[in-house]
Amino acid sequence: MNARLLALLPAAIAINLVIGGLVNAMGLPLYLDSIGTILATVLAGPAVGMLVGAIGQVLFGLINGYQWIPFGLIQIVIAVLAGVAASQAGFRSTGRSIAWGLLTGLVAGALSSIISYVLFKGVTATGTTAVVTLLRQLGLSLPVAVTASSLALDLADKAVAFLVVGALVRSLPNRMIGRFARAALAVGR
């Protein structure tokens, strides 16, 4: 692996693991644990994005004890979708970024609800599970409650994640855009 990727990847993975905490410190109930994956995909392609997402998920499990390694699959799906979005200049405007974010959120939400229900009995990260419990008390069945809460949170989380990465890449200085040719394509510059 060339030295540039050895320098880029740890930073992108660390962003996946740190930005959530940063945003929570501001009282926003978002995970944003895929910004590094999306950014790496836009800058260096989906293969790199998948690696960032996968290693990030393993390290998240290692550090926090939560065993979310099965959710690594979702990071890979996000990298694929972000790659498709980038190839279609999906980050060219706020509107397009959010649209691609919602699409990714839909797919990610559906997948995570299956994993959450089948493997984890609907109990995953505190935020999501609190919503599940609420819906359950309103009388929804567990599978429906899990699916609804995963979808709702993932739609919001991925929309904001795509929004942030799109706004960032659009505002990148010329020197950086010149260094990451793919990024220019992603924002139609």
Binding site: P10, P173, N174, R175, G178, R179
Partner: protein, 275 residues
């Protein structure tokens, strides 16, 4: 044959409106210390990246003309084999030069030799010599991230010294060091030149350089405009015209309307102006 040779070398960063280096002719010889100075943007830092081959191989952008580093064109992908571990590069911000996986300063300095697959005994011996040379043996077991700026800069220099390079490329190598630290690094560079290495320093810190450098090259607007013995260049007027600067005392003499050649040190200043 020069350790470093630029013939009509030019370079433009990707997305940059104008070239950072234009039609640059420069050489640096083994066994001597060549000091490059110039205002910000004059091209000295770019010259070092070109010499190391990182421009354009890593930076992207366009290079023109010829660059030969230890007789090889460093921009060629195949140059890695010929130059690997023989060219040392020290950049201004120590924090970004760390390996990222060392838990101790010892492991940090041993990073490159380990990557090159040196035998363990040789690594241990060379690392402790390098730590001693930079007077940081007492930091061997400290975590690199917890060092002060000056300590980190010495650790980065030590992690290059360990390789016994044939060509040193140093960009503002003493920016975070105090007076004593600066003197120690200058003495170290002199010993490296005596050992036969070519030492090229890019720095605006001209205060101590006339006791260190064998040759001073002043850059302006992307290419060398002055090249000569430090004492002569620093006492003259053209160094200021090129947008660079001489020592603090020479600057004071110039502000006081003194004509060239001007005093360089406090002692010379006292001799010149004392009643």
């Amino acid at each position: 044959m020069s350790a470093l040779l630029f013939k009509g070398a030019g370079f433009t960063y990707p997305g940059a409106p104008s070239p950072a280096l234009r039609d640059c002719v420069l050489h640096a010889d083994a066994g001597s210390i060549t000091w490059l100075t110039g205002a910000l943007g004059a091209g000295t830092s770019t010259a070092l990246l070109l010499a190391a081959g990182l421009a354009p191989r890593h930076t992207g952008g366009e290079r023109t003309g010829t660059v030969l580093t230890l007789g090889v064109d460093p921009a060629l992908p195949s140059s890695g084999a010929a130059l690997g571990g023989r060219v040392a590069l020290v950049l201004p911000s120590p924090a970004t030069q760390l390996s990222g996986i060392a838990e101790t300063v010892f492991q940090e300095v041993a990073f490159a030799p380990a990557n090159l697959g040196w035998p363990r005994a040789r690594i241990t011996a060379r690392v402790s010599d390098a730590l001693t040379a930079l007077a940081i043996s007492h930091l061997a077991n400290r975590e690199p991230g917890t060092l002060s700026g000056g300590e980190m800069q010495r650790a980065v220099i030590a992690s290059m010294l360990v390789l016994e390079p044939d060509l040193w490329l140093l960009d503002e190598p003493t920016s975070a060091l105090d007076t004593a630290g600066r003197a120690l690094v200058h003495a170290l560079l002199r010993r490296e030149a005596v050992r036969g290495a070519a030492v090229v320093v890019a720095s605006e810190d001209t205060d101590g350089l006339h006791q260190v450098a064998d040759r001073l090259v002043v850059f302006a607007d992307g290419c060398p405009v002055l090249d000569g013995p430090p004492q002569e260049v620093l006492r003259g007027e053209r160094v200021w015209e090129a947008g660079a600067a001489s020592t603090a005392i020479a600057g004071l003499a110039r502000a006081a309307g003194n004509a060239a050649p001007r005093p360089l040190t406090v002692d010379e200043g006292v001799a010149r102006w004392a009643r």
